[in-house]
């Protein structure tokens, strides 16, 4: 039996496929929604009991740990934590340092215990959901959490995809384009899918892993603070205020106004304040509006217009807010579909994915995608995409690289994930060195092959074939790939290796030209009055030469022209600085 788990920022759920239906399982109090809170006291508490301890022992109680999973110190979302930038996040707890995956595993252990108590049998296999926009490190850490809890993790599945499965189960004969708008406690995803006779094909996804109900709570708490002129609060009071803000937010989804009472704050005073829905909506609006751009980008990537969509499905607890529903209607130009249970659809979808894997749910196939492009850093610090975003997984792609410098005796391969042109702006998933004997330029050859499995987890294989001595270097748990497969890949790309290299150098030069030409133009314009005519003429001549080389796509000529332009414009830069100094003084 494979359990389906929604490991949420705020709440988590577990379910199984029973006699042909997905069923969510409740704890001894009859609750299916288990708060994702862990308390490290004399014993470890999880769920409602842990939540009760949060304001009493804030330093021993962790909530929203999902926002930290797979992150390094210095990443967005880790503000307020102390640690060396670049090192995976750990939290000081339980007399030591705990990783987010260790803390998450406590939540998963609790869910496992609930399922086992309810079913009377051991539950060891699971499908766990993650936000669609989670990167590789976040997915791998979630898988690790599952393993630490004693599960064999059969699949990591994206939350909106799971929700689409729950929505589409009753509509297997149909063909439709849908968007799933998933605004949860800590993350936002927008995925667009094509449903076609039991096949669920994800076309595109966009999102923000640091945008959710938590941010709304924080904004409402700040509003209360300022309305009531609260002084700086202790951590415990801060947590109580946040809880007050959360319950006000929830009540205001149905009421027009609500009163928050927080008696006996540690600061000595008691708080009682009435908030109206419109006051709260005013501070929440800019946060919710941030989802708009992701929606438009997802439509763009799917190559469709919002009018092509048959349904916009809402899931995630935060979509209960009337303001969210209004904004979605505004973005897509149609009323959202509220047929799915906002808290349960994702978990039900996880259960259904488990049923597909077990063969209990036939004629249903889920074709998911990788949300972020994958590539390696190449010569010049650029990102070389090997598998573009929105590629259906499993997928595999490879490319051949040669040494750029004569006498080079190794190549550093940095594996990147992200959408930015500059390597440094993307996530580095790992890096390793492929050594080879010193070789003349272009003689050493390294084949790099990327393979994404159905979980969206990447395996990278690199092999040096320049000398005939082959060597496989793997990062993470790369599987063995047959020699024949690598040979075939090499044979296919070897002949293009030199062209590739030339193309990269040209691209690099082109980027520089794209930067130089407009800058030169603007500098000439600004300095038109004071620049000697012959100097301006020389610079224009050099710039024309760059343009001509660009248009002719001549790499060597372009590099030379750029160097000349660089030299010719050195005095321009000095003049500009002098002019700026004069104007400002």
């Amino acid at each position: 039996m494979i359990a389906g788990i929604d490991l949420g920022t705020t709440n988590s759920l577990i379910g199984v496929y029973e006699s042909g239906f997905p069923t969510l399982l409740a704890d001894e109090e009859g609750k299916r929604l288990i708060p994702s809170v862990v308390h490290y006291g004399p014993t470890i508490l999880v769920g409602q009991e842990a939540r009760r301890m949060q304001s009493i022992h804030p330093n021993l109680t962790i909530s929203s740990v999902k926002r930290l999973i797979g992150r390094r110190f210095g990443d967005e979302g880790t503000e307020g934590l102390t640690g060396t930038p670049g090192i995976p996040v750990t939290l000081p707890l339980d007399g030591g340092l705990l990783t987010p995956e260790e803390i998450s595993s406590e939540i998963l252990k609790k869910l496992k215990a609930i399922a086992e108590a309810r079913l009377g049998t051991e539950v060891t296999r699971a499908v766990i959901t993650v936000p669609a926009y989670f990167n590789d490190a976040q997915r791998a850490a979630t898988r690790k959490a599952g393993e630490l809890a004693g599960f064999t993790v059969e699949r990591i599945v994206s939350e909106p995809t799971a929700a689409a499965l729950a929505y589409g189960l009753d509509r297997l004969q149909e063909s439709a384009k849908i968007a799933v708008y998933d605004l949860g406690g800590g993350t936002f995803d927008l995925s667009i899918l094509q449903l076609d006779n039991g096949v669920f094909q994800v076309l595109s996804t966009h999102g923000d892993t640091q945008l959710g109900g938590d941010d709304l709570d924080q904004a409402i708490a700040a509003l209360i603070s300022s309305l009531a002129s609260l002084p700086a609060l202790s951590i415990s009071d801060e947590i109580r205020l946040r809880e007050g803000a959360r319950s006000a937010k929830e009540l205001l989804s149905t009421e027009e106004q609500t009163t928050i009472r927080l008696p006996f704050l540690e600061s000595g005073r008691s708080l009682e304040i009435t908030l109206t829905r419109s006051e709260v909506e005013k501070v929440c609006d800019p946060i919710i509006r941030r989802t708009r751009m992701h929606c438009l980008r997802a439509l763009e990537d799917a190559g469709i217009k919002s009018s092509d969509l048959d349904q916009v499905i809402l899931v995630g607890g935060s979509t209960r807010m009337p303001l969210v529903q209004q904004l979605v209607a505004e973005i897509f130009g149609k009323e959202p579909n509220l047929s799915q249970h906002p808290d349960e659809a994702v978990a039900l979808g996880a259960v259904l994915q488990g049923a597909i894997l077990e063969g209990n749910l036939q004629n249903v196939a889920l074709l998911d995608i990788t949300p972020l492009s994958l590539g390696i850093e190449t010569f010049g610090g650029l990102m070389n995409v090997i598998i573009p975003r929105n590629t259906t997984i499993p997928a595999k792609a490879g490319e051949m690289f040669t040494n750029a410098v004569a006498g080079q005796s190794g190549m550093k391969i940095s594996v990147l994930q992200g959408e930015r042109e500059l390597a440094a702006d993307n996530w580095t998933l790992g890096s390793f060195e492929i050594p080879f004997p010193p070789a003349a330029k272009g003689v050493a050859r390294v084949g790099v092959q990327f393979s994404i499995d159905a979980d969206g987890i990447l395996q990278v294989l690199a092999r040096d074939t320049g000398t005939g001595a082959e060597k496989i270097v793997e990062i993470k748990s790369a599987v063995e790939v047959s020699d024949e497969a690598v040979e075939a890949m090499l044979a296919g790309s070897l002949e293009h290796a030199f062209e590739d290299m030339d193309a990269r150098i040209f691209t690099e030069a082109r980027l520089k030209a794209e930067e130089m030409l407009p800058a030169v133009e603007s500098a000439l314009e600004q300095l038109a009055a004071e620049l000697p005519a012959d100097e301006a003429k020389l610079i224009r001549h050099q710039a024309k030469e760059v343009t001509a080389a660009l248009q002719g796509k001549e790499t060597i000529r372009l590099k030379k022209a750029l160097t000349n332009l660089d030299n010719a414009t050195q005095t321009l830069a000095t003049r500009l600085i002098e002019k700026a100094m004069k104007t400002s003084s």
């Binding site: 036939q362 159905a454 293009h496 030209a513 407009p518 248009q551």
Partner: protein
């Protein structure tokens, strides 16, 4: 691998996106490794074939048998500097906007951002016009098929590659500008 025959589609310049998508889903649904009788290698190959057919540039190169894009089409040359300069302006203004911390410095950026947005829309409209003319050429080549000139196929393939990439780059900037100005 012949992507056309893998997807059981006619080997010709024009193919309807919906037809490619539905042929792909019909086959991929059965080949996905989660399915009984699924085949991961065949699934990946099908995905690659579908990606080639969905991209007019790659589809045309598949037909002409030529791999690399070696020519800069004359119209692409016209757009090259225009697009490059807008991308450059856009990226530098976006960076400035992201680092602008005082209301005054933000206010100062609004006029240039608006100018940029209107230039961008103008260029984007021209690019789209070009793209539509490429679509018309594609239909012409398709009607003449298989008597089409391979050189014309390659030139059109290169044009599609530039038009598509620039259009998506500009569209991306347009969305970013819209967010800054809203």
């Amino acid at each position: 691998m012949d992507p056309f025959s893998l997807l059981s589609l006619p080997r010709r310049p024009f193919l309807d996106d919906e037809a490619i998508g539905s042929a792909y889903r019909r086959l991929a649904g059965a080949l996905h490794p989660d399915q009984a009788g699924g085949d991961a290698a065949a699934f990946r190959e099908l995905g690659e074939a579908s990606a080639i057919l969905c991209d007019p540039s790659r589809r045309l190169r598949e037909l002409s048998g030529s791999l690399a894009g070696n020519q800069l089409p004359p119209q692409a040359a016209d757009f090259f500097l225009k697009v490059a300069s807008i991308l450059h302006r856009s990226d530098s203004l976006t960076t400035q906007a992201a680092t602008a911390s005082t209301p005054l410095s933000k206010a100062l950026l609004i006029a240039p951002l608006k100018n940029l947005a209107s230039d961008l829309q103008e260029t984007l409209a021209q690019l789209r016009e070009w793209h539509s003319s490429l679509d018309r050429e594609l239909h012409q080549l398709d009607r003449a098929w298989p008597e089409s000139d391979p050189a014309a196929l390659n030139l059109l393939a290169d044009s599609f590659a530039y038009a598509g990439r620039w259009e998506s780059q500009l569209r991306e900037r347009e969305l970013a500008l819209e967010a800054l100005l809203s």
